[in-house]
Symmetry: none
Subunit: 227 residues, 2 copies
């Protein structure tokens, strides 16, 4: 799958140079020559990186950057800013606005490609441990939402934590004591039936898939491997 780079510059020779080198490096290229067009194309295409010149007609690069970084659909797109040589104030303003990197004109196309590669590495490097998917289940640790066959499960917080932990360690029998400690923060009650009750409730909410949640008699509970 080729990644897409949006190149924004009002100088067509810069665009030509970048298009040639980026395509040679395996990227798809979208172009824009002014700020409004850049915003429009960024919103529509959601490129993997945006190369953005500071000096643009009508809406300047700083303003474009600010807008893109403030909109949810575009804020995660890395922005590499092109700046005129020596304008330190521009560079600082760009960084403060949320640009992810900058390159000073005149630049080497090779440097651009390397920096884009670095940006892409960083933006995809978060192998997101906050999202777990297995079989018909998915667990999102940011939103605390679990789904079963694409349908949101109506879980309490404790049920979510329990399910998340069991799924994280699917295939392994987890003793009640461990569940108490890691889900409940080590409740001190001896011979508590708290875990059992919450497992029950969780099973009720899993419906036909509740058989994934197995009892290991005398040991604990286990989420079935391979689901």
């Amino acid at each position: 799958m080729r990644q897409t780079i949006l190149v924004v510059d009002d100088e067509s020779d810069v665009i030509d140079l970048l298009r040639f080198n980026l395509q040679k490096s395996g990227f798809d290229v979208i172009e824009a020559t002014h700020g409004v067009e850049a915003l429009e194309k960024a919103r529509k295409h959601r490129p993997d990186v945006i190369i953005l010149d500071l000096m643009l007609p009508e809406i300047d690069g700083i303003e474009v950057c600010r807008k893109l970084k403030s909109e949810d659909h575009t804020s995660a797109i890395p922005i590499l800013m092109l700046t005129a040589k020596g304008t330190v104030a521009d560079r600082i303003e760009g960084l403060e606005t949320g640009a992810d990197d900058y390159v000073v004109k005149p630049f080497s196309p090779r440097e651009i490609v390397l920096r884009i590669r670095a940006l892409l590495l960083r933006s995809t490097q978060t192998p997101d441990g906050t999202l777990v998917e297995t079989g018909p289940f998915s667990i999102n640790k940011n939103t605390l939402v679990a789904t079963l066959c694409g349908k949101k499960l109506d879980l309490t917080t404790t049920e979510f934590k329990l399910l998340a932990l069991l799924i994280d360690r699917r295939g392994k029998s987890i003793p009640r004591e461990t569940l108490l400690r890691e889900v409940w923060g080590y409740h001190s009650t001896v011979d508590s039936r708290t875990v059992d009750t919450h497992v029950r409730r969780l099973r009720e909410k899993l419906g036909t898939e509740s058989s994934c949640l197995e009892t290991i008699r005398g040991e604990g509970y286990r989420f079935a491997m391979g689901t």
Copy 2:
């Protein structure tokens, strides 16, 4: 807890300048004037960031960078390289060697501080994204526990989600609408004050650190950068 920066340059006036500005920005500073000393101090002290000049006596900056990035104990330390103006080949070589960023001499100290902040922001997230630490705060998305100065915060689930999202995107103003959508799952109530109420409650629980949670009037809320 102050973070430590190792500054490596054979020019004492550069070291003086950086030491002054970094300490003023709240960092502790370690210094080295040549490559062997830099390697030694990096291995011994394990600083949070290394500022590394390319041109060094004996072992040059590229070689230092290569060694540090190839050793387990030091490979995760972000390296910001200082390069002479115009030497594109140096910059490319630095990036290929594994430097995390570079700044062209002569530089603005403010730009250095900003870039260090950006590097630190990236390096305090674990690879799987379920544990985030910044300043005195830590967020654990597995246990749904947040701590402040090592002490567990007594947060409700909603408060935890709110804090986690704001810290994930610290430095950025998050509109209320965004918070409603991402924390509450897009509550449909118009002109709801729900977000404001939960921010209040969260602030109450943060005590003296509540000033980290800033109101951007007419926009939304922001968790302060650099904490």
